[in-house]
């Protein structure tokens, strides 16, 4: 399967981040088309396209939009989830830095479709360079009459606010994001009501990921059939894959859904030093890890699920044989413990407990029976926590245990750094490779 740059097609244009640069490559053409359509027709096109959310859950985007009640007399809101914080995920931030106007165009079209006159782009606070690029694009679009009152004479009004987060992974969870956007602690909300009915300010709200929104102008401009010519029936379209880890040429690669990891690895120059993939994760630390045997699976929502993992954010992390899986999992759990919002017991206390147990393995203080205890504790979190963060925290260990039980047992005898020289896994020149 070849690479198919669409969203990334013009990233090598130095002024693409400006409205002039964006327009020169066809930008805002889709908006003009969209504003001449019936909003429901746009919703139907997106439904027909089969576009699925690129934030990790893969929920059908058009269906999500159709849940918004119409003619309800309430304001509607669009909220863009640009809180990209999942370990391994690094595609939305590059999109916003390289081509912010594609996001703005998607926001305007989406807002028009769902009848929202106010849109918010919630960008994680730790990336000022994404904030300023998007804010600059909003200002340019406003000056060009693409935001504000009566956009392009359509009678449609829209305000877009660029909002800065402040450091909390949980705000990627959509209801936590809403609480955060309302100025509260970013803790998830009880559902129902769902955001489509009572979201921001208790009004109907659509929350979409950055990459998802960036697909919209292309679907409107080039059509549903064209969009569906990429990918599979259940996973149509293209994907901005961000390949990281122990590869020779990490970076952004855009290709249809259904490409295999082996093909992506090839584009990314293969495993460094000609080494082997020890384990890899298709899309973030919250999906169960896979091994070399899974490199030829098509990377679609359905095939990844069949393999017992998830496509997630579609940003594969590759680890070679220098890496201790025990250490990797421990570090992820330290992350989940740090990012647990504290609201619910299983996640708050569970991450505290299992992280401590994993640290014992990392440092060679554990006993073999702790493996069963760890598995049991993970079981007590999964499916019982308030939101998906708890489920995510309960994911890395069981997956690692499935493929690398011996490594955990070995870690009961000695610290993992004795077995796996940390320097060996360093990526920069001079570091040893195994």
């Amino acid at each position: 399967m070849t690479l198919t740059p669409v969203i990334t097609e013009h990233w090598d244009q130095p002024d693409l981040y400006t409205i002039d640069g964006y327009r020169r490559v066809g930008g805002y053409r889709a908006l003009e088309k969209a504003l001449k359509q019936d909003p429901d027709a746009i919703i139907n096109s997106v439904k027909d396209s089969g576009l699925r959310g690129r934030g990790g859950a893969g929920f059908p985007t058009g269906l999500k939009w159709s849940f918004v009640p119409q003619n309800d007399g309430k304001p509607h809101y669009l909220v863009v989830n640009a809180d990209e914080s999942e370990p391994g995920a690094c595609k939305d931030i590059p999109i916003m830095m390289a081509n912010p106007h594609s996001l703005i165009e998607g926001v305007i079209i989406t807002s028009f479709a769902i009848r929202a006159n106010h849109a918010f782009i919630y960008i994680r606070g730790e990336v000022p360079n994404a904030l300023r690029k998007v804010a600059n694009a909003v200002a340019e679009a406003r000056r060009a009459g693409l935001i504000g009152k009566n956009i392009l004479g359509s009678g449609f009004d829209l305000e877009i606010v660029v909002h800065s987060g402040a450091g909390a992974y949980i705000c990627g969870e959509e209801t936590a994001l809403l609480d955060s956007l309302e100025g509260f602690r970013g803790q998830p909300r009880l559902k129902p009501p769902f955001p489509a009915v009572a979201g921001l300010y208790a009004s109907p709200t659509v929350i979409n990921n950055v990459e998802t929104i960036c697909n919209i102008p292309y679907i409107i401009d080039r059509g549903v059939d064209w969009f569906r010519s990429f990918g599979t029936e259940k996973s149509p379209g293209f994907k901005v894959w961000a390949v990281s880890g122990h590869v020779n040429n990490p970076g952004i690669f855009e290709a249809p859904l259904g490409i295999t990891m082996r093909q992506l690895l090839e584009y990314a120059g293969g495993v460094r030093g000609g080494g082997k993939v020890k384990f890899w994760l298709p899309g973030g630390s919250s999906v169960p890890l896979l091994t070399e045997e899974h490199l030829d699976l098509p990377m679609t929502y359905e095939e990844m699920a069949a393999a017992g993992t998830m496509l997630g954010t579609g940003t594969p992390m590759i680890f070679d044989e220098t890496v201790s899986v025990v250490k990797a999992v421990t570090r992820w759990l330290e992350f989940y413990k740090h990012e647990s919002c504290g609201k619910c017991t299983p996640c708050r206390e569970g991450t505290y407990w299992i992280t401590g147990m994993l640290e014992n393995f990392e440092h060679g203080h554990a006993k073999e029976s702790d493996l069963e205890l760890l598995a049991s504790a993970c079981n007590q979190i999964a499916g019982r926590s308030f939101c998906a963060l708890g489920d995510a925290a309960a994911t890395p260990f069981p997956a690692a245990l499935k493929y690398f039980r011996d490594e955990f047992i070995a870690a009961t005898n000695s610290p993992v750094d004795d077995e796996f020289d940390p320097v060996a896994s360093y990526i920069y020149a001079g570091a040893a490779t195994r």
Binding site: T2, L3, T4, P5, T8, D12, Y17, G26, R29, P75, P87, C90, I93, P94, M97, A98, G125, E126, V127, P128, N129, L131, R132, K133, A135, V162, H163, S164, G165, A166, G167, L181, E182, G183, F184, R185, G186, Y201, D221, G223, W226, H246, P250, G251, I252, E254, A255, Y267, S285, T315, V323, A328, R331, W332, F335, H338, S425, Y426, I427, A429
Partner: protein, 217 residues
Amino acid sequence: MAINEQTLASMREIVARYPQPRSALLPMLHLVQSAEGEVTTDGIAACAEVLGISPAEVTGVSTFYTMYKRKPVGEHHIGVCVNTLCGLLGGDAVYEALSERLGVGHNEPTADGKFSLERIECQAACTHAPVMTVDWEFMDDVTPTSALDVVDRLSRGERVESTRGPVIRNFQASEHTMAFPDDGLAGEGISVDAKMLAGLRYAKEHNMAAPRSGQEG
């Protein structure tokens, strides 16, 4: 600097962006940090006053988010990603080197107030691992040597450019950007680098492209 009339006026300006005032709280707390260098009791009181909520409510919010600091931050706040991928690909060594050089640990400022150091979580730049941030601007693909070099140059007051962003200013200036993101620096520095173009360049070199659509244009 401190909370003054100008700060309060800026806070009200932020409030005006939103349908409901309290939505302004996160950017307002960034503004407090830009004015005070940290979230101070005065800053909390100012937010509470402007929004008509209690200081406890503001405190609850300000302690929830890791970017808000309740103790002094250095002129330059340095973050090193030690999440799994960055950490194991060398971020751990970068952090250790900086910690040793600066003589400080996690979330501690140097005695001269020039730097503070933080073990940060994933910065959404895994393709550029190991990742460091200076005042939250990207310093991609660092090594212990290059990280120490950045610190040395900043110590000497030299101009340091972000690898994907503008010239490094200082922590408080970056915090101002989080409150007022359209900071006029969008055109400064490189934002798209070779790694972001890896796929595009490969495609061009190998004559790969997405199929065109009949409807296009």
